[in-house]
Amino acid sequence: MYKAYETGFRSQTLSFKEKFWGISFFYVLLITILAVVGVVMLYSAANGSWQPWAGRQLIRFGLGFGVMLVMAFMDVRIFLRYAYLFYFGVLALLVIVEIGGHVGMGAQRWINLGFIRLQPSELMKIALVLALARYFNSVSLQHIESVKGLIFPAVLVVVPVVLVLIQPDLGTALMLLFSAGAMFFVVGVQLWKFGVVLFSGILCLPVAWHFLHTYQKNRVLTFLDPERDPLGAGYHIIQSKIALGSGGVFGKGFLNGTQSHLNFLPEKHTDFIFTMLSEEFGMIGAVLIILVNFLIIAYSFVFALRSASYFGKLLVIGLATNYFLYVIINISMVLGLLPVVGIPLPLISYGGTVILSVMAGFGIILAVNTNRNINIGKD
């Protein structure tokens, strides 16, 4: 009330100039560094050619950069206002995909819009964060701590997760679940409730295992024992480790990765691009990329804490966690620490929707930072 009073005197809307200078240029620089590294690696993945990936990735990053700027210049209150609308829109798209999407890579994930193959599950990652942030912003701590208060947000989470699961896209479903879980945690849901969910989850594992596709079971089994089928399911992870390990400290040099260029490394332009980077630029290159990501996450959390509004904080934490999940899952996967689940390394891996959704997320984070002093009510 004190703050509301103070801000009451100021214009609640920032000018264009204020918004521009409010953007964290360092944050944008970190993002751009990753994107440039991505384009460079895609150039290498095509054996030193802009075709077919590097050039298109550059255009996509340009588009994503535009989306980020548009988001960054938005008023945070607009996000609040349209959060549910956006959520239900994306949910509708997910249903459409389920009914008649394009079949690609064995899973129905795309809507072909002509210029881009839209992956609604990617958009859902933002939509879910928006919807949850709006909901938790609107309710009291008492409500959050009650079981009744968790029914609605739980439904918000479960419906898209189930839809994504039947696509089937286990990786994205888990990411949705984890980022939602992180939000449930930060808003103050009691830890014992997580314990209950975790416990019942473990109880359900045998049943869940039953519903997994054969290839998904193979991925898990292969993760547990990569030598189980070295030329089949275990091939990816074994070759990835060989590529990484043989890169050594300094790497084999740009365009000189033997594992990548002789095609021993599969999916080198998408899920395993970090491996290729580590092979060509060694541990030094790999650590630098991790460091840049470390800074992006750290800055995001600083932005969250600096934001005056509960909604803004929660929004940034949700989106940052979402980005973190991409990074940690992808890198852990190629390092052989997690099963191969098909999660790309955003900004670096080749892929359109991921860039657009991640850049939109960064735009929202930047907008929250720009609007950090604007207080937002409960609705």
Binding site: S140, V187, G245, V249, L262, F294, Y310, K313, I328
Partner: protein, 607 residues
């Protein structure tokens, strides 16, 4: 309001916690990177190299085999094959059809090509046709614009320019089989051929050379990206043999359609100059794989072209053995120059009658005359006096009963019987009658034509232990011959007898004599029965050889040397079922020696 404040505080404290965990997890990845990229780097570097580097063996060219005058006997021929790379064709069927227009393919070949195409990735070259001549290869290249994806590949295949003429000496090469000892990685190379018989087998290690290595970078599907390293192997060593193409040619000319063997060697060096076993076979057909038909016809031929009769054919030496018996007797003092026997055409021992080949008998006869006329009675009596063991001992000194060690596989040692041997073999004591027929080289005695050539060489060189070899002996590398310790007078007596065989009227090889600038030949004929002449037949008149079926006719042998005064060349001739040594073998031996002397005369100035 208070609760709202709590809500915000809780958010902040839990955010700190969440952010901390996230940053910590990211940090942990660095440890994993360290483990893989530093701690285990060497292991993975090795694995990466194993992935990308494919090592191939480079087959060295096989050593060339020459005769003593550097004529190529076995060489490597450029061999062209047409290959097709499916991914370089616009359409596999079109290319094949176009190829068929230039060079028809059999149905079998087409089937195999289709199968190979299905089995291999599209960048792997598929064999369309191999063993193409240069002309055929050129014809295909000329039509290259119509044959996209077709390439001509050249390799080396073993080639024997003289065909069958050296098949029993040089042998042949063929694909490595299960039994071969795989002590060299080269043997694992598909299509690699090794020596399977003859010189090719004896000198396999020298001829083979050392494999080269080629390290290639390959991608995940096995396509060759580039050559990383190449270490050329060492070509096989060329080998110069003692053989003389011209004498070899002569030997086969003389043998003609007969089944038999001719071996000629230098009496002082042991160098084999001609080594023929007839009929021969074409070793070139072995190199490219023999068809069942060819194999059957070789195997079922009654003249046994695959049998190397010069070393693996066992024959009674017959009268050619008489020199050994004579020397044994002379050395033992059982007879001397003047000892005479009376030949009445037959000799009775107990209830058994031994016949001389000459029914009316030779009358009184000494050792030189007995050799000249090949009188059997003289040698019956001599053998009877000597006993088998002294004959056997002398025979062994001349190299009989043991392998000569020339190295050719399947060489037989022959058989020189003695009393001990008979006891062991049959459990029965030796009979005197057996000594008697041994005196004329019949009975249990078995020899090879090569052993006969060695024997006659040792007589010709005055009793020195010369051993046969296929390698050309340089003047410096001449074997220092060990004397057999025979009396030179005794040797001379035998030599005189052999000279008379050819050059004195009444000699059994008179028809074969020659006089080339005063150089003459000495020799000894031999005729051995392959069937027993029954008493009944002897009474009703022995059938003429020409009246008998081929396989019942006598074997005809001849051993000889020339020139008579300074012997240089020795020859042994065997004609299976040739009838008689005098008429079938002696003329061949004479022609061989004459040819050698003539060549000597023309070669001399060149040396």
């Amino acid at each position: 309001m208070n609760r709202d404040n709590d809500k915000g505080k809780l958010l902040i404290s839990r955010s700190f916690f969440l952010g901390g965990i996230q940053l910590f997890l990211l940090f942990l990845l660095i440890f994993r990177l360290y483990y893989l990229q530093v701690y285990q780097a060497d292991k993975y570097k090795t694995l990466a190299d194993e992935n990308r580097i494919s090592t191939r063996l480079l087959v060295p060219p096989r050593g060339i085999i020459y005769d003593r005058h550097h004529q190529m006997l076995a060489g490597n021929q450029q061999n062209f094959q047409a290959l097709m790379v499916a991914e370089q064709t616009t359409n596999v069927d079109d290319t094949l059809a176009a190829f068929q227009k230039i060079m028809p393919l059999t149905e079998e070949e087409e089937k195999r090509i289709r199968k190979d195409l299905k089995k291999n990735r599209s960048f792997v070259p598929i064999k369309i046709k191999d063993n193409l001549s240069w002309e055929e290869a050129a014809h295909i290249l000329l039509n290259a614009p119509d044959l996209p994806g077709v390439i001509i590949d050249e390799g080396l295949s073993r080639y024997y320019p003289y065909g069958g003429m050296f098949s029993h000496v040089i042998g042949y090469v063929a694909a490595v089989s299960e039994e071969d000892v795989k002590d060299d990685p080269l043997l694992e190379v598909p299509g690699f051929k090794i020596g399977k018989s003859g010189i090719e087998k004896i000198y396999e290690k020298e001829l083979r050379g050392k494999a080269g290595n080629q390290k290639l970078e390959v991608n995940a599907v096995g396509r060759i990206m580039k050559e990383i390293e190449r270490e050329d192997g060492v070509s096989g060593k060329n080998i110069e043999l003692s053989l003389d193409v011209r004498l070899q040619k002569k030997a086969y000319e003389l043998l003609g359609e007969e089944s038999g063997a001719i071996v000629m060697m230098n009496v002082s060096t042991g160098e084999i100059l001609a080594f023929a076993s007839a009929p021969a076979f074409n070793p070139n057909s072995f190199t490219n794989g023999l068809s069942t038909e060819e194999w059957n016809s070789l195997n079922h031929n009654e003249k046994k072209p695959l049998l190397n009769k010069a070393v693996a054919g066992l024959y009674s030496p017959g009268s050619t053995f008489k020199m050994v018996v004579a020397l044994a007797a002379l050395e033992a003092g059982v007879i001397d120059r003047k000892s005479r026997s009376f030949c009445a055409g037959k000799m009775v021992l107990g209830n058994h009658t031994f016949h001389c080949w000459k029914n009316i008998g030779h009358g009184y006869i000494n050792v030189v005359q007995a050799l000249q006329h090949s009188c059997d009675i003289f040698f019956y009596e001599t053998a009877q006096k000597l006993g088998i063991n002294r004959i056997a001992a002398m025979a062994r000194r001349f190299g009989f009963g043991a392998k000569t060690g020339i190295g050719i596989e399947n060489e037989k040692s022959g058989l020189i019987p003695d009393t001990e041997w008979k006891m062991e073999r049959f459990g029965e004591p030796w009979q005197q009658g057996e000594s008697i027929i041994s005196g004329i080289g019949q009975g249990y005695i078995l020899t090879t034509p090569l052993q006969l050539a060695v024997m006659v060489s040792r007589i010709a060189n005055g009793g020195y232990e010369v051993n046969p070899t296929f390698r050309k002996v340089s003047d410096a590398g001449k074997q220092a011959l060990k004397s057999m310790g025979l009396s030179s007078q005794n040797i001379e007596m035998v030599q005189q007898g052999m000279f008379d065989v050819v050059n004195t009227p009444g000699g059994t090889a008179l028809m074969a004599r020659f006089n080339f600038d005063g150089q003459r030949m000495a020799g000894k004929t031999g005729t051995t029965q392959v069937r027993r002449i029954t008493m009944k037949e002897r009474q009703s008149g022995v059938l003429k050889q020409s009246e008998l079926p081929w396989k019942y006719r006598n074997h005809a042998l001849f051993v000889g040397y020339a020139p008579q005064d300074n012997p240089k060349y020795a020859v042994a001739v065997l004609i299976e079922h040739g009838g008689s040594g005098s008429s079938a073998s002696a003329p061949l031996g004479g022609k061989m020696l004459l040819e050698a002397l003539k060549l000597d005369a023309t070669d001399q100035p060149v040396d």
